[in-house]
Every structure is written in structure tokens, then in C-alpha cells.
Symmetry: C2
Subunit: 245 residues, 2 copies
DNA sequence: TTTATATCAATTATCTGACAAATGGCTGGC
DNA sequence: GCCAGCCATTTGTCAGATAATTGATATAAA
């Protein structure tokens, strides 16, 4: 079993190994994976552990398994893209600019509306949490603390402040995507340091209950980033300085 | 084991039974579920089948299980709300107006942007599929075919026409939510028959590549429904005539 | 008393080997 | 050529045993 997955139990290791293989396209949708028996032998583990791994991947929508037919990769539309594991495997397998753009296209829609909802909701605790994160961003500009963590927290806290469970759940999705993106794109200082002012602008709108203002502030912030990605895409540059917003 | 879950294999039955129990709040987050041994006894099945069910629920984010600690319900924010099973269990457990509103709040954001993307993308096949669904809606108005299926297909096909895998994946989420909502809300004729014109309006905008027009057409359609829900919420009426758009 | 260490017990994790059930394909009869 | 029934393959389920993890408890040391 892979060295990188040690520390987890056998089932988890196999889940991640197979998950990555599938996400990377080593097994294509429609393809059959090795049978349970083969997997046992290949990874040197028992059938129970193997089956439990297969059940977990089934639960995440990556595969199906039926008697006689064996184990098959599902079509991508069935994958639970919003499962943090699945998303991580996919992003790590192919951290392309294309996918970053597709992710940003979704994020724009969600965060724009979330900002408006948060402004309308006026949940004091939730807004205080956003404020905290903003403060941490400011401090981080002066070199204290982690700017990335503060940035992520800011966006997550806006989603939380909607008090809408669907938006809240999307927090973990966005968090995963951001962390992976960050790890795989070397960021340039200029991009993120410039952003505090934008974030403050967005926060102010939410704080004063200005839904329309919050919505457009969010949209403005992200369309900048999206435009950057799209210009890189058309000029075929590497994703070096494309980063979080 | 429940009669309603027969036809599936034992593991699947237990997954659904426990999933529903958790979603309905019979086991609260933080609570411990019965141990593996107890579950085996309670449902009269072997430990393998039980463990596989537990692994599947773990994969969906509903529970964790660790030696000595046992099986515990996760906090709701960890649940994979976008997993069709999980969403179904939740919606069926408590099909409240509140949740319908929260769902619509998300749907509005997503479909609005999806309409714009579809308009910009101009995928001929994708647009043809939307047109097909629209046609089926029209025919259904005259009593031929299923209006609900056509309606759902229309919205799913817009998501597909974005060619963005994230939006496409949300299709199965929205589909599940719509089906459950429909099953649990008795719809009034007047609401859905009025909607063909709106849908046509949205389609036309997409077809001619008018992203802004598509976006606002979608928003208009859904804000109507959302307003209806919110008025019902404030007047505490039952969700009888709130329906799909 | 406080702190560190060893032991214990409850629970999940894994292994083994067997049998049951489902199902795609083959074979033989018509 | 078509259909029924058999067969082999693969997953589904069962039973029972042992290993690993870990919170709690008891014990020993400072």
C-alpha cells in the first residue's frame, strides 16, 4: 500500500488509493476495476477490508458493484463532486486552469448570493465571525498569522452567516477546493495583499445590511479573479499566479 | 428490517434505515448509535453487513466510528447534503416550508448563473436538449405526457448546457430535491400551467446567447416562487400549493 | 498530593474460510 | 432460430477468531 497513505487504517488507505486512481482517469468510467479477489491479492489485505473500501467508494458515487458484473467506474455525473474526498482527489489529479475556472464559475454564483443573504439575515454572531476573520487578514498583512487561513475563514464565515444549511455545507466544499488550489498554485504576493480592501468593502456592506451592495462587492471581487484565469487560459499560461480571492 | 426497504440487499436496507433515523433526528449529533454488536442483534444480520452499512454512512459524512468510542452522529455541517441519499432522507424526514425556502435560496443562485453560462456557452446539443424539454412541457399542457418530468428535465438540461461539471453535478441534487418536494406538496394546477411562458422566455434568451437576459429571466421565475414560499411562511400556511417552478 | 506509568476493558479493525445469491453466457433440445 | 435450463463467475452474507486502538482506572514514583 502506498506510503503516502500510512497512518490511516487499511480500508481508508485503499479508499484513497482507488479514489485517486479513478479520479486520475487510470480507470475510466465504464471500465471494470479488478475484482474483489484481485484487489485483496494486489494490496495484500483481507476481503473484509477490501469490501468496506468498495462500499465507501460506492457511497461516494464513484463506482457500482454487482454480482457477476464486478466493480465498475460510474459516469462522472454520478460522482459526488461535493464530497470533500472526491473533490480533493479530482483536483489533485488534474489541477488544471480549466477546472479552476469551472470552480470559480460556481463559487461566484454561490458567494454572491450568500453575501446578499448574510446581509439580509443580520445574524450578529455570524457577522462577528466574519469581522474576526477580516481582522486576521489585516494583521496577516503585517506579517502576523497566516493570510491564507484568514482568507479562507472569511469566505466560510460568510456562508455560515446565511444560516442556510445548504450554503453552510458548501463551505467545506469551497474550503477543500481552496486549500488544494493554494497548494498547487504558487501564489504571487501582489495578488493576495491587494485584496484586503476588497474584503473590507464586502464586509461593510454585509454589516450594514446592504444585500445588493454585498452581492455586487462579492461579484466584483471574484470576477477579477475569474477574468485573470480566463486571460491565462486564452494565452495558455501556466496557473502560477492565479490564486484565491 | 423495514418492509419498505425490501428488494435491496441487507447492507443497503440498513444504510437507509439508519440514514432515515439520523436524518429524522432520532439520533442527535453527538449521540452514540448502538455498537456494531447491538446493531447486528437488533436487525438480525451479520457483522459484515452491518459494518459495510456503517462504512457507507461514514462515507456520506453522517457518522464516525472509532474503536472504544463507538459510532457517533456527526454535526450536521459534516453531512454530505449534496448526496442524493442524504438529501432525500432529510427532506422526507422534515419536508418543511423552511427547508423548501432554504433550498430555493440556493437554487436561485445556481440556476440564475447557470442560465447565463449556458447562454454564453452556446452548446448546440445542450440547447437542443433544453428545447426538447420545453416542447414536452408545452405538449404536457395539452394533457399529453408528464408535466413534472418535462419541467425537471428543462432545468436539468440548462445545468448540463453549461458544460461545467460542478453545475452538472448539481443537477442530480436539484432533481432529488424537486422530486421529493413534489411528492410531499400537493400542487395546484394554476401554478405550474402558468409557467410555460416563463420557461419559454428563459429558453429564448439562452438560445440567442443573451446571458444577462437569461440570468434575469431565471431570477424572475424563481423569485416569484420564493416570494410565494416566504409569504406562506410568514402567514404560517401549510405548503400545499407551493411547488416546482 | 501530583504526576507519570502500567494495566484493563470496550469497541472497532482485520483476517479466514465457508456458503448463498445473482446473473451473464453457454449448451442442448426443439 | 429460439428458448429453457445449466454453469461459472462475482458479489453478498454469515460465523468466529484475533489484532489494534483508546478511554478509564489503578498503581507506582516524585
Amino acid at each position: 500500500m502506498d506510503r503516502e497513505h500510512s497512518g490511516r487504517n487499511l480500508t481508508q488507505q485503499l479508499v484513497h488509493t482507488l479514489g485517486e486512481s479513478i479520479a486520475s482517469g487510470r480507470y475510466q468510467p465504464g471500465d471494470g476495476l479488478p475484482s474483489e479477489a484481485s484487489l485483496c491479492e494486489e494490496y495484500g489485505i483481507s476481503r473484509s477490508a477490501t469490501r468496506e473500501a468498495i462500499k465507501m467508494l460506492t457511497a461516494k458515487g464513484l463506482i457500482t458493484s454487482r454480482p457477476r458484473q464486478g466493480i465498475r467506474v460510474q459516469v462522472r455525473a454520478r460522482w459526488n463532486l461535493f464530497d470533500p474526498d472526491v473533490l480533493g482527489w479530482i483536483l489533485r489529479a488534474s489541477p488544471t486552469l480549466e477546472m479552476l475556472r469551472e470552480f470559480m464559475q460556481l463559487r461566484t454564483a454561490i458567494e454572491k448570493e450568500a453575501a446578499a443573504l448574510a446581509a439580509a439575515e443580520q445574524d450578529r454572531e455570524g457577522i462577528a465571525a466574519i469581522s474576526d476573520a477580516l481582522q486576521r487578514m489585516k494583521v496577516a498583512e503585517e506579517g502576523l498569522g497566516d493570510p491564507v487561513e484568514a482568507d479562507i475563514a472569511f469566505h466560510i464565515n460568510i456562508l455560515n452567516a446565511t444560516n442556510n444549511p445548504f450554503y453552510i455545507q458548501l463551505g467545506s466544499f469551497i474550503e477543500t477546493a481552496l486549500r488544494v488550489s493554494i497548494r498547487y498554485t504558487n501564489r504571487i504576493k501582489g495578488v493576495e495583499t491587494a485584496s484586503y480592501a476588497n474584503h473590507k468593502h464586502l464586509y461593510d456592506a454585509i454589516e450594514r445590511g446592504d444585500a445588493a451592495g454585498a452581492s455586487s462587492a462579492s461579484a466584483a471581487m471574484q470576477s477579477e479573479a475569474l477574468a485573470l484565469i480566463e486571460s491565462r487560459l486564452s494565452s495558455r499560461q501556466s496557473p502560477v499566479e492565479v490564486a484565491v480571492v
